[in-house]
Amino acid sequence: MRIRHQASHGDEKIELQMTPMIDIVFQLLIFFIMTFKIAMPEGDFNIKMPLASSAPSIVDEIPLPPINVRLTAGPDGKISSIQIGERALKNFDELHQEIIALVGADAGPSAVASEAEVELDCDYNLEYRYTVEAITAISGRIVENAIVPLVEKVKFAPARPPG
């Protein structure tokens, strides 16, 4: 009657040991929760900062003079005035419109925008966020979730002394 004996054992349900698996699963869960970090996407603005060359190179064509954008700051570091050339502007939207008016909205390899250059002249104590805001207004705009570049060549004027 050995066979029958075995058969009766085989009927029993095999119980899996769940405890070690759940232990490990929770360990993994804790690890991933601890290492979780929400990273916002970051992007870069290229700026052109060539060294002032002592011997000017001979160029065939005369480059366009840079568009001068002047940003002044109040004593608290907040923006107090925006000037493009000699014209005073109210806000960065206006600066953006002015840049579009100057270089044209058409994009392409022969567009003025690819040749034009903007020189930012900022006060020493101007908060950096306004500088980036100005660069944003100058360098492009968003049309239907795509970036249309405007002026890509941005450079800084020599730094003004503090005070």
Partner: protein, 145 residues
Amino acid sequence: MRFPTKSSKAAEGDMTPMIDMTFQLIAFFMVLINFSDAEQNERITLPLSSLAKPPDAPADTPLTLQLTREGTVLFAGDEVPLAGIKPFLLREKEVLTRTDRNPAEATVIIRADAATKTGVVQELIRSCQETGFEKFTLRAKQEEG
């Protein structure tokens, strides 16, 4: 009428839904985990910009300089005042030159705090230029909408 006969057996909770949920959570966190070695620091609040889109390809030979609102530079784990950044930059340049890379080709990524003075950023750029670095990018955080 029938009554359950196995009343002596201990009542066992059903583990299946809990394990299902736990695996789901693990899968969620695994997918979102970010092992990128991008240098980031919680002390620095980047300025916001709607045009700041992540670059398609990472810059070759990047050099990240983080500028705090106090005007100190965080560079490779060290915090140095702006005036004392030159030796670090020179050392970096030396390393690049020894490994046959041109410092002028290296990209200096500037992660400056939104409340930093623009003049301080310009001073940092100037220090880099005097050392021999020529390519600069300003980093900003992507703005929603």
